[in-house]
């Protein structure tokens, strides 16, 4: 076969570039006829995430399925084609004073890709994640049938919410071609209030004090430099100018004299604490266990003598950790083992989002998954031949 | 089956808003022991289904607290429905089931018999718990509920108004009230007199008929209320200090339009007697037959708040019955104790040192539950608090 492109190091024989939902359906139907394995690509920002496909024949590039279908400003709703870069969506909405309240941790990401991996950033604390904002979805099934679920109204309980099912499914259930989103008004003012913390416990106390107060932050982030270094706690408040002033002042009282205020985000805000080629890990836990998780990350870094940088939403219990890509796979496995024990104790999970191939083959990237049996049955129903991104997802799905 | 009854049943839209206020639903979480379920059972009966023991069991389990009537947005007259149903149930009740009810009805509505029954209570209070355990549950409940016997207070037939006479009112002394809480009646008479009322207290007055009516013994109830109509023929208002009696009198007989709860009457009349401080933290408990049946909730609170130094607290889940419900606690000792325990817990959670309510049944029920919880709280009728405030003594 002629290699024309690849996904996570796995070569593909062909790349299809459909320009509409109907064309995607044609491509997928054709592939299904020959049981060709396919993987969807948007901007390609996360092709090294999850596991490489077990087999791959065709890359379906959705770059051509792009553009805003509809922006109902009065209804705070927009319908967007999957291949549209998130940034373009925001630019299109801005003149109406509106936004799709999703952060963009990896610049250039498309709407479809963001939905497929359920990516989120700091502002998930106030606005929620993809699953909370996606109100309708068009999917091309593994057999090429086009199906819609949801609609273009915010409130709708007619039928199953398949949007939630495909959000975070890594392209294993269908090809997302169109998404309807609930929008939010752009805030008139925003303020980032940051304060240093000497250690995880102090950061934890700062976070708890903000949660218990009445400042209603849009984001509450913690950033721990590698090697249990200094921590920074940053809260974002958004609203009317007078309200933001008051709340920023309240935050100053809570976080102490050393706080810094800014109208634009501090460096590294909303980005992952790793570079391309590094090991990227997602850590979740019950809210109150965030300090514990930070401590555990610091301890394991010291124990294995590797720099572990942790950053994320202390206000929701979703953190990210990064390790240098050249860390010995055995050491990475040890770190993952420690972090997994810590997240388990905090009622959460530890998932390796991305890692160099030697690491990926060494560790169980997904970890324990509740309801895996049901998930396999879902996959069997949606993709009985196993042609959609085979092997990329949990439990070898 | 009357069309009217079918219409009353048809008013229920099955929304379920009554469920959380129904004591038996709160206890058991079963549809057939909720107002909505009982109405469904009534519907079956209008459709010709026989009143089986299973069905009557669910009707008997209803406390008649009428919390559902308050909660119902559709205005279903459950009070009317259950009263009619109880009358039907009484007609089909097997003889065995009647014995205890007959015994209760031979005692409660008759003050002299109640007075006589107080004597053994003294002995009971001295019994050790092993002896108590040997008594049947119902009898034990009855005895546990009764407050320490107090000496009867004989009230004069007429108490003159203090100062200018503003009204001439009759006062219902009630069966349980007079037998077990004679102090409440004395306090009521003093408060009324202090507020300028001439208080008529005919010694020949009998029972209001509420217990009989709420238990489906309609003929007996009618006779009682007719007797009262005669005795109180010439007063401006009949003032009642027991919630159950008041709600029944307001629904039946010639006195209906002139009957007033004490608190209702005092708020309408307006105060003239000066109040003295009563420094106490008090919780006010809505007796079902005052709050739900008569809609009298604001007045007692207003009167209590007007007492200088009194800190009034609200009880959580106030709409749920304490489990007294006339003679329900005597007939259903287990569940009644459970309801009493819930209420005691809620009352104690307010941190109040005094519990005020306007019904002798509630006072006895909650007092027993507070004792079971190993706690203590002082109890008073609204009249006693007002009396203490007017006289400048501690309640």
């Amino acid at each position: 076969m002629t290699v024309v492109d690849e996904i996570a190091g796995v070569p593909a024989a062909a790349v299809a570039e459909p320009a509409s939902t109907a064309e995607v359906a044609d491509v997928v139907r054709g592939a299904a006829a020959d049981e060709l394995a396919l993987v969807v690509r948007g901007a390609g920002t996360r092709q090294d995430w999850a596991l490489p496909p077990q087999r791959l024949d065709l890359i379906v590039d959705l770059g051509g399925v792009c553009g805003l279908v509809e922006h109902a400003a009065g209804d705070l709703v927009a319908i967007v084609r999957a291949g549209t870069p998130l940034r373009e969506v925001q630019e299109a909405l801005r003149p109406a004073g509106q936004q799709l309240a999703l952060d963009e941790p990896l610049p250039g990401a498309t709407v479809g890709g963001t939905v497929a991996v359920n990516a989120s950033g700091p502002r998930r604390m106030l606005y929620g994640t993809v699953r909370d904002l996606l109100i309708g979805v068009t999917v091309v099934r593994a057999d090429g049938v086009v199906a819609k679920a949801g609609g273009k109204v915010v409130k709708n309980v007619a039928g199953y919410d398949l949007g939630k099912l495909v959000a975070g499914s890594y392209g294993t259930l269908g090809v997302i071609t169109e998404c309807a989103f609930r929008l939010h008004p752009l805030p008139a003012a925003a303020r980032y209030v940051s304060a240093p913390a000497a250690g995880p416990d102090e950061a934890g106390r700062a976070v708890a004090s903000v949660l218990a107060a009445q400042v209603v932050p849009s984001a509450l982030e913690v950033d721990m430099a590698a090697g249990e270094g200094p921590l920074t706690v940053t809260a974002l408040v958004e609203g009317v100018p007078a309200g933001v002033d008051r709340r920023a002042a309240d935050l100053r009282k809570l976080l102490g004299e050393e706080t810094e205020q800014a109208e634009s985000p501090p460096p590294c805000w909303g980005t992952y604490p790793w570079a391309p080629g590094d090991v990227g890990i997602k850590l979740t836990c019950a809210l109150s266990r965030v300090p514990y998780l930070l401590t555990a990350a610091g301890v394991t870094a010291r124990l294995h003598d590797v720099p572990v940088r942790v950053r994320g939403s202390a206000g929701t219990g979703v953190l990210y950790a990064g390790l240098p890509g050249d860390t010995d796979p055995g050491v990475v496995a040890g770190v993952i083992s420690d972090l997994r024990a810590a997240t388990r104790a905090g009622a959460g999970h530890c998932v390796v989002l991305t890692a160099p191939p030697p690491v990926r083959t060494r560790v169980d990237v997904w970890g324990h998954v509740d309801g895996l049996d049901l998930m396999r049955r879902v996959k069997e129903q949606f993709d009985p031949a196993g042609t959609l991104a085979p092997g990329r997802f949990v439990g070898g799905i | 089956m009357s069309d009217e009854r079918r219409d009353l049943i048809g008013d229920c839209v099955h929304c379920g808003f009554c469920l959380p206020t129904c004591p038996t639903y709160v206890l058991w979480g079963e549809e057939m022991d909720s107002p909505r379920g009982r109405i469904q059972l009534m519907l079956q009966q209008t459709e010709g289904e026989p009143l089986t023991p299973a069905m009557t069991g669910h009707f008997d389990a209803c406390l008649g607290c009428m919390a559902c009537v308050t909660a119902c947005p559709s205005g279903v007259q459950y009070d009317k429905l259950i009263t009619e149903t109880r009358a039907m149930v009484e007609q089909v009740r097997p003889p065995a089931g009647r014995a205890l009810r007959a015994a209760v009805f031979a005692l409660f509505p008759y003050r002299r018999r109640l007075e006589a029954a107080k004597a053994p209570l003294v002995g009971y209070r001295w019994m050790g718990s092993p002896f108590r355990r040997n008594l049947p549950a119902t009898v034990r409940t009855l005895l546990d509920l009764a407050p320490a016997p107090r000496r009867s207070v004989r009230l004069p037939a007429v108490v003159p108004a203090l100062g200018r006479r503003r009204a001439r009112v009759g006062m219902l002394t009630g069966c349980v009230q007079q037998a077990f809480f004679p102090g409440v009646n004395a306090a009521t008479a003093r408060v009324l007199a202090a507020e300028g009322c001439e208080v008529v207290i005919p010694p020949e007055q009998g029972c209001c008929g509420a217990l009989s009516r709420h238990s489906g013994r309609t003929a007996e109830a009618d006779k009682f209320s007719a007797d009262l109509d005669r005795v109180f023929a010439d007063v401006d208002a009949l003032v009642v200090n027991a919630a159950g009696c008041g709600s029944s009198l307001k629904e039946h007989g010639e006195l209906a339009s002139r009957t007033r709860d004490l608190s209702e009457f005092l708020v309408e009349l307006g105060p003239v007697a000066p109040r003295h401080p009563v420094p106490v933290t008090a919780a006010y408990h809505d007796a079902c037959h005052l709050g739900h049946a008569q809609g009298v909730r604001a007045q007692p609170r207003a009167l209590l708040r007007a007492v200088p130094g009194l800190d009034l607290r609200e009880i959580p889940d106030a709409e749920i019955c304490c489990g007294s419900a006339g003679i329900w606690n005597v007939l259903n000792p287990g569940p009644a104790a459970e309801l009493g325990d819930r209420k005691a817990r809620d009352v104690l959670s307010t941190g109040a040192s005094l519990l005020v309510t306007a019904n002798p049944g509630c006072l006895m029920q909650i007092a027993a539950a507070v004792r079971r919880a190993g706690a203590s709280i002082r109890l008073a009728h609204t009249a006693e608090v007002l009396d203490a405030s007017i006289r400048g003594v501690r309640p």
Binding site: A149, G151, K155, G159, V240, T343, V363 | V13, W28
Partner: protein
Amino acid sequence: MSIGALATAMHSRLAEDQIITDRARLRTYECDGLAHYRVVPGIVLLPRTAEECAAVVRACVAHGVPFVARGSGTGLSGGALPHADGALIVTSQLRAIREVAPQDERAVLEPGVINLQVSKAAAPHGYYYAPDPSSQQICSIGGNVAENSGGAHCLKYGFTANHVTGVQIVTPDGELVRLGGRAPDAPGYDLLGAFVGSEGTLGIATEVTVRLVRLPETVRTLLAAFTGTDAAGAATSAIIAAGVVPAAVEMMDALAIEAAEAAVHCGYPAGAGAVLIVELDGPAAEVEAQFAAVEEFCRAHGAFEIRIAADDAERALFWKGRKSAFAAVGRISPDYIVQDGVIPRTALPQVLTRIGELAREHGVRVANVFHAGDGNLHPLVLFDEAVAGQAERAETVSGAILDICVEHGGSITGEHGVGVDKAKHMPRMYTEADLDTMQLLRCAFDPRGLANPGKVFPTPRLCGEVPGRRKGPNPWHDAGVEVF
């Protein structure tokens, strides 16, 4: 399938009073909040633990008996309508609040816990549970999960699906499985998200972990009276367009106001053709600034009277009229249909005009109550069954209203669910392929089709071969991958 055999089997697992088989008692369960559908269940079972619930489902599977779950029985789409040859599994005795964990902003609940009780339990800690269906004083959390219940305050805070972070369910196979949990973003498919709102067709929730929200610093509520719904709608549009996200914007028309007045004496301004209840909550400084703007928008669009709730008691009175409106309509009409449809909010004026025309054409009255902020309409079609032909005409109008919603790109249900009532309307909103795709999920969970059959979908999908238990080893484990 045999109810008798199931009953016998259940006697060895449950106590006597957890099994109902006599007809009089069974009939008290013959309908939920949508009383014009009535089916007497074959048997009613009242489990008191998750394990008992799983045992009940397993017994149903063993005897091939379909089962329907029911919480408080307040649903308005007949979602808990029993199956005549099936078991009704009632969760009203599974009602413990297992844990209130304000430090994690979570509460762990049994499914029979009443919605409002959660907020009551969380209040001492300064938290509450945000989704507030009008029936919140009685509806159960399990039912909320099944229906993805909304409520007035969902405009700002979202629906049940946005507030449930974990469930333990009994699958239609009778297995206890956990989906999600206390932490966000559990790995794998978001089966939790798919389960919420699946109307009892994917299993029964036996434990629910919900998000608790900090009680707002300030709540300001105003009641604005307008001459008609158009003006009230225009005021709503202006508020939203200005970038204000109120906690709630509710509208009632003249007929709905009349009903509420009759029922709860809420004292709304006399002569109002429409009232708007607008509530803002959040940090005091934000609320104050935006509240002034909201008041101004109402005046600018013709509000002839604006009342601002001075205290919690007055605020409660504003809401009392709104929250009891459905049942209150019983005071002004012997019979009525509560409809639930959604339109893009900006289509409100046209849609209301069309509903008015429809009502006149068919000689019935329609009272309108709605969540104006998100376009969720609740037209109440009034009729008198005693008058020949009225019930049919009301049914026609009610159905036509849904057509109007779909024409405008809306939904046939915003919060009451599809249930048995609207299954027939699903093809108006979705293609055969759409519905077929949804049923793939159902086949994955319930290949035998025993969980709440006949609901949601107009026609069941054949699931093909019923899969056995396939807990295959993780291929990565075989490949020598280190597993932790």
